[in-house]
Each structure stands twice: as C-alpha cells, then as structure tokens.
C-alpha cells in the first residue's frame, strides 16, 4: 500500500469511528430504521469527501474536531445520495460496496426513509456547536452543504443522469451533469476544510480550482472503471452505463481520450496547489491515487 493510500485509509477509519458514535444507536422502537441508517452510512467506502475536508483544513492547522464533524456531515449526505440513487425507481442497483444495496438489504420504503434521515442528520450535525464554536461559520457550512446537495447541485445532477441521452450526448452536457452530480459535493468538501481553516480568498480559490479538476478526474476514472472494471475490485456492478443507454465521459469521448483528459486534469489540479508549497503534499499525492485507483 502506498503512503497516500495508507493515509486515506487512516482517515476513513477515523471517520467510520466518529460516525459509529454520532449516528443514533440501533435500539428502541426505531431499531429497523436506525439499522438501515447505519447500514447505509457505515458500509465502508473510501471516505474521499471527508478526506478532502480534513486534509484541506490541515493545510491551515484547523481544529481537528471541527474538521472531523463537518466531514461526517458531508459523508452522511453522500451516503443518503447513494441510498436514493440505488432505488428501483432510479438506477435500480443491487450491489454497492460489495454488499446488497440498502433497499435490497431492507426494503424500498425503509431505504427512502433512511436516506431522508441521513440527509436531515447531516444538517443537524453541522448546526451543533461541537462542529464549530462560531455560529456564523456553522451557518456558512450549512448553506454551502445545502447548495451543493440541492436542486442546483447533486439532486439536479442525478435528475440529469436519469434523463440519460435526453440531456444531450456531447462533452458539455456530460461535464455539466457530472459537475452537479459528484463535482458539487467534492468541491464543497474541499471548501469546507478551507472555510474551517480560515483560508484567505486567494487560498480558497486555489483549493476550489483544485477540487474542480480533481472532481472531474475522479468521475472520469469512475466511468473508465464502469467500462472496464471488474465487480471484485469496485464492489458494484460494472458496464452499467452502456447497458442503460446512459451517457458518460467514456461513451462520449472513448476510453483513450478520457485517459488523456484525466492526466491533463491531474496536472492542472496539482498546479493549483503550488501556492501552498509542501503544506499541500497530501492533497498533491491524492491526485495520483484518484487517477490510478482500481476501485
């Protein structure tokens, strides 16, 4: 395991432990609902969004407790989005992170409700003083999280993804869809770290550009894995997009041109970090991990 992979894994374990403690305990009359919530939020995953929040914040020596809590809130939003995206009425997926999807493990109603609860819980977490002592900062984080997740962000991206080729099958349409569906929350994850760390406007802009490029490269790599990957590695069904007539970077550009673009974006992302010098080493190494990953 490379150094950066070990670091990502270490952060994932810290996030898992924090979520274990923050999420409601599986007891009482809501035991089934809470079981589903915990199944959705604690089922593994790379925890890349929390990683971005924490590592972006560390550039500025931000408070570790604040970063971890904000990271958990962001991961709850990510977990909710996966639960709802997998539903029969949406992508109808049976496999996620090597396990049955939430509605396959429980049932459809419970999966909808557990997703709703995770989304709600993310805002509850962000609003509490333990996330940040300054309520003004908490409001900023809540506002940013809502904008990244809502009808102008992630939800819009999923709606466009569902519409498939109807949104257009050119690079502009696919880029726009992915910016909303996955880019917006990755961007906010990095922004949240910068915000909590008290970054200057110039520093925020540099990190935001980094997040933009990394987010696109991440999604392109995902599309390559979907086209070429094996279930064993990814823990989810592969070859789905083509089979469903969905448009993605590989269907639009082809695999070779997608690979070229990933490399271009990776170099660009790294260049945005130059202002931070060695303080951004981890975010720099993360680029290589993201573009080379097999899962």
């Amino acid at each position: 395991m490379s150094q950066i992979e070990a670091r990502i894994k270490e952060t994932a374990e810290r996030v898992n432990l924090a979520l274990e403690n923050l999420l409601p305990a599986e007891q009482g009359s809501e035991v089934r609902l809470i079981g589903a919530i915990r199944y959705a939020a604690l089922g593994g995953g790379k925890r890349l969004r929390p990683f971005f929040t924490i590592e972006a914040g560390r550039i500025f020596d931000a408070d570790e407790g604040s970063l971890l809590r904000a990271a958990c809130a962001i991961e709850c939003v990510h977990a909710y989005s996966l639960a709802h995206d997998d539903l029969p009425a949406m992508d109808d997926d049976d496999l996620r992170r090597g396990r049955p999807t939430l509605h396959r493990q429980y049932d459809e109603a419970t999966a909808i409700l557990a997703g709703d609860a995770l989304l709600t819980f993310a805002f509850e977490l962000m609003a509490e003083p333990a996330t940040h002592s300054d309520p003004q900062m908490r409001c900023k984080l809540i506002s940013g999280l809502a904008k990244a997740s809502g009808a102008q962000g992630m939800v819009a991206g999923q709606a466009a993804d569902m519409a498939g080729a109807d949104i257009g099958s050119d690079l502009i349409a696919v880029t726009r869809m992915n910016r909303q569906k996955t880019g917006a929350l990755i961007n906010f994850a990095v922004d949240a770290g910068a915000l909590i760390g008290g970054a200057s406007e110039a520093e925020k802009t540099a990190l935001s550009r980094y997040a933009h490029d990394v987010g696109l490269a991440f999604q392109m790599r995902d599309d390559l894995l979907d086209a070429e990957g094996v279930v064993r590695d990814t823990g989810k069904a592969v070859g789905k997009d083509k089979a469903r007539g969905k448009v993605n970077f590989v269907t639009v550009l082809g695999a070779d041109a997608t690979r070229d673009r990933i490399n271009m974006l990776a170099n660009q992302a790294k260049a945005h970090l130059s202002v931070f010098g060695s303080r951004a080493r981890i975010l720099l190494d993360a680029v290589d991990f993201i573009v080379d990953r097999r899962y």
Copy 2:
C-alpha cells in the same frame, strides 16, 4: 367563512406568495425537476404549520420577515414529507389536495428527487441571514427543524406508520407514532415562532404544551375525516387506513371516544394559552377551527 378561517387563508396566501418567490424558477435544464418541486410545494394546502409559526411569533411582536421565512422552510419540509409518503413504496397514494400526487403527475424518480431537494432547500432557507440576523438563532432553528424531521421525529413516525399493526394497536403506540409523524413538526412550528419572538422559558413551555395538544387533536380529526370524510372535502382518498390495516385513533378508540378526546385536548390546549391573555386570541380560535374542520 369564520374570522379565524379568513385569517388562516390570509396567512396561507402570504406563504404561497413567499414560496413562489423563494423557490427556484422553472427554467433552464432542470426545468422538469424544478417543475416538480414547485408542484409539490405550491399545490395548496391549509399551511397550518406556517400559520402556527407566524401567529406564535406575533404574540411577541416578532419580526414578520423572519417569521415568514422560517414558516416557508417548515412548509418545505412538510411538502417533502407528503411527496415521499405518497410514493408507491410507501402509502401509494394517487390523490393529494384534489390533484394527482407528485409521482403520478411526474414520475417516481422525479418525486423522490423533488422531495430530497425540498428537504435540502428548507435548511438552505433557514441558514441564510434573511431568516434572522443572529446566526446563533439560525443554528437553533436548523437544529430544531432537523430534530423534528429526522430519525427521532417525522421519519421515525412514517416508519412506524408503515409498520402498521406491528407497532402495537394500543393507544400508547398510536399516540407515540402520531407524536412523531405529525406532532413533532407542528410542535417545532410553534416553537420556532416562540424562539424568533424571544419568548421566556415559561412562555415557550406554555406554547409547547399548546402545540402538543393541538397536534394530537389535529391528527385525531384527520383520522375521523379519513374514516367518515368525503373525497370532495378532503382532496385526498378517504377510508385508507382501515383498508390498509393501519392503526389510527379511530381504529383503536372508535369514533365517539376519539371525538371526546379531541374535545378534551382542545380545552386543554386553550388552557395553556391563558398566560398570554388576549394576545393569544388567534391561537385560541385556531383550536376550534382545527377540531371542527371538514378538510
């Protein structure tokens, strides 16, 4: 139309107008999603939760702009919950407020996503300075809204409602389910007005007790309407609970005992308002409206 009915209608019109302006406009590439969001949020309804927030706040001469915005956020949460509760995997309803339910008018995926977006938007609204100048207050409102809506509140209530007789068919189980499913958000609606108005602890407690009793009476009246109502009046299918083997106050207590309890709760709710004297006249009259309503 009685005076109180006119007042409720007037508030509903103010809330509708505010929501019309606050919700994203139906344009651009998200036109279908945004159309669904607006359909779900602007389709009529009594707007009782906003009414409670606004009238509770008026007891303390609270800022009207703050009250209206918080009221809109709460109504967005209510609208989302109806959209998700009506889904085929949940209550599978075709009719709501005299129109096709959201997933019948659009499709299931769009209904899930529009609900998600409305829930998210509620927190975005609450977090913005226009809701209240004090960020500490906005965080309190967000935290309260999340608690009332999430896995310990509304979502838990819907999960229990879905479980039907499995939760038990005694008065305690039914009361608990309704406290979560509808009571928690009605309570928060009143609490939000008191919070924004700067009520004292004693005043908050009095209003909270009022909300508790009114919330239960409201739900009991709903169950009576479901058992005896006509589609023309209620704008939704009636006789549903019995047909689905669901438990509610009428299936547990019978219609007569339910009516007795409504009257008892109504008197109790009014008694809690005595500390406010004539300042609470509107909330007092609202009790009669709620227990006598035909829709």
